[in-house]
């Protein structure tokens, strides 16, 4: 139930994409070179960096160290230290199901990220075109979705997709799709992940839509006017004006979405515990099954390390782009 890795807990951060360029990109304060001035940035950063290194860095390091140990309940409660070298990694990487799960996780993440970013973008652009009433309705509805607790949202979705009592099947039957009477949405892993994916997209879109909306209304009007005079179609306008302006922001939220969606656990577990037949098991679920369910904490730690490595691999392109970009961008 960690809200941290679920997108429902984010915020419509108004990161206007063009903002960094408007703000003199090269910063300031170069005038005097007193010791205090040179120290100032580090002083300002100190509380944050110390907190992160202490409260996140240290536990992460422990996980890394643990991944080379055998640590079951017995060793944990008695404080025994048993080194096993790379055994845990050998066990995971030698397990054929691991590769299936890893591939599934990557595909699922890709699907959910693309779907939610696309939906967020479309809604953001839609919000600029509709009347005030429709826009407020849209905003309130998304706020409601966002405010709904993770636990409650998951329960409600399970309930809506229930085979017998679910409102969805009943509605589909009412609409004439009789084959949905008693249709089970959870007999295959793909179908189960489809429902879970919908839930995650539903939770993720408000943040994305609000952020992109903020970015979109930051685009100077005259640019559109210029495009309009040229007699451009909506698509051409999008290509010529909106896309280049929104691209940095889009990349940014896509990156964040990848981090969050890759690590989604609570929702997947709540539905079918990664079933049926392990068909909706993703890496975080696998990690939980080994770690908490079987109490093999060493193996679970190794899975976590592999997960982070995989995530770093997936996002390295974006991170490099950031590092290489000009100072003001970063």
């Amino acid at each position: 139930m960690t809200a941290v890795n679920t997108t429902d807990s984010a915020v419509p951060a108004r990161r206007s994409s063009s903002a960094p360029r408007r703000a003199a990109p090269d910063g300031a304060r170069r005038r005097r070179g007193s010791a205090f001035d040179r120290l100032l940035p580090y002083l300002l950063l100190a509380p944050a960096v110390i907190s992160i290194l202490w409260l996140i860095g240290w536990p992460v390091l422990s996980v890394l160290v643990t991944s080379f140990r055998k640590l079951n309940l017995k060793e944990l409660t008695r404080g025994e230290v048993v080194w096993v070298g790379f055994d845990n990694y050998a066990q995971i990487l030698g397990d054929s199901t691991f590769w299936t799960i890893a591939l599934r996780t990557v595909l699922f993440t890709a699907f959910v990220v693309v779907a939610s970013v696309l939906a967020g973008l479309l809604i953001a652009l839609l919000m600029r075109r509709v009347g005030t009433a429709a826009r407020i309705a849209l905003q309130v509805a998304m706020l409601l979705a966002w405010a709904m607790p993770l636990l409650a949202a998951t329960t409600v979705y399970q309930w809506m997709f229930d085979q017998q009592y679910g409102i969805l099947n009943k509605t589909l039957v009412k609409l004439g799709f009789d084959s949905f009477a008693g249709h089970s949405w959870f007999t295959t892993g793909t179908s189960t992940l489809g429902v879970i994916g919908l839930l995650i997209v539903w939770q993720a879109v408000p943040f994305l839509a609000f952020s992109l909306y903020a970015g979109a209304i930051g685009i100077p009007k005259d640019q559109y006017e210029a495009a309009g005079i040229d007699g451009a179609s909506a698509w051409q306008t999008f290509r010529a004006v909106t896309w280049p302006e929104l691209k940095p922001l889009l990349l940014m939220v896509t990156f964040l979405s990848m981090l969050w969606d890759f690590k989604v656990f609570a929702q997947i577990w709540a539905f079918k515990r990664g079933g049926p037949d392990g068909g909706s098991t993703t890496l975080p679920v696998y990690q939980y099954l080994e770690g908490i369910s079987k109490s093999h904490f060493g193996v679970a730690a190794a899975i976590s390390v592999v997960m982070v490595a995989l995530l770093a691999l997936l996002t390295v392109a974006y991170l490099r782009r950031l590092v290489r970009s000009q100072e003001g961008e970063l």
């Binding site: 409660t77 230290v81 089970s184 949405w185 007999t187 049926p276 099954l289 079987k294 109490s295």
Partner: protein, 428 residues
Amino acid sequence: MKGWRGLAVGAAAVAVAVAGCGTSTPSSDSGKSGEPKTLTVWLMDGSAPTTLTDALNKEFQDTHAGVTVKYEVQKWNGIQEKLTTALTSNTPPDVIELGNTQTAKFAAEQTLLDLSGDVSSLNGDQWLSGLKDSLTWDGKQYGVPFYAANRTVLYRTDMFQAAGITAAPTSRDEWLAAIEKLKAANASDPEFQALYLPGQSWYTLLSFIWDEGGDVAKAQGSAWAGSLNTPQAKAGVDFYKKLVDASATKAPKDVDEATPQQSEVYGKGHVAMMIGLPWEVGTAAKADPTLKDKTGAFPIPSKTAGKTAPVFLGGSNLAVPAGSKNQDLAKEYLKLLSSKKYQDQLAEGGSVPGTSTDTAKLATTPVGKALAASAPNGKVTPTTPAWAAVESGQNPLKDMLTAYLTGAKSLDQATGDANTALSKLLAG
């Protein structure tokens, strides 16, 4: 300074620190009334009736001056994490309740206090054998049986009467015949279900498999392997489907009896039978109080007429964490709980008491009588530490049932797949 921080701290420091709380250093704390002490007791949500626990805690405090019992009811949700972390803390609880299917794991990992030496003072000769097996590991006892219950068929006496069924079914054939009669008598009610049986009620499935002479897993030396692909197990699964088809239950095929709570469905009054635990009648009565008097029970019928089918003995054990600081007090608490007075109260509450063979108080209600009648035929899941992961993780039996019932897999395929998955889980 244990566990994960080993590297940073150094092995020697770890060893020293551990001696303080990891191993079972007996603390001579009983009888001394000088220092105030707190005995922390964790029982699970919905286990013992509050009247019992209130009286028990009061009596314990009254007879142990200076001792406060900190009694806390734990929620089922997230209990694995909570127990894992609690057992690792410097001040773990002193008495914990463990499901009988998970006790072996905690015992095998040496997180519990060995109570073998105290068995006789804890009414050891009257322990419920099914539970005793579940808490015995390597010939030693790591807990005390708390209570057990098994499922019976709960039924609406008025509906049976209206359908012309005079006696409770005592064989599978009679059971199926009763279903047909009930369906015929209630044909006008579109919401009617002769039997509410969700697709993943795997405890019920155990009964059918055992009744056929099969089992879910077999021990081969110290290792366990699934036996779901045996003809007996397949016959059990097949009967489950037969029952689902015959009863035309509207229950979802991809959930167990908890979602939706089957007692709530029963409470709506259109269900003639459900396979459940005694206290589920109470939940149903919240929706319709008259159900209490209109509900009877009979043991799950066997394929052999006149016998009852073996049933899964669900229940709990009580254990003392190895790191408890009040081990002697904890033992005394357990001793008080295993006395006749409180065991009788457990029976009255509708469950089979763990440390008393006297079930007279249980057999006073119709539901209790059926329970007491089938309890001697109670069996438990394989007593291997690996079994806990079957229930706390992905249960292959559930997937097997859904796959077969929805027609996604053939009987051979469903049982074969589940057997492979189960064997893998049991191998650790």
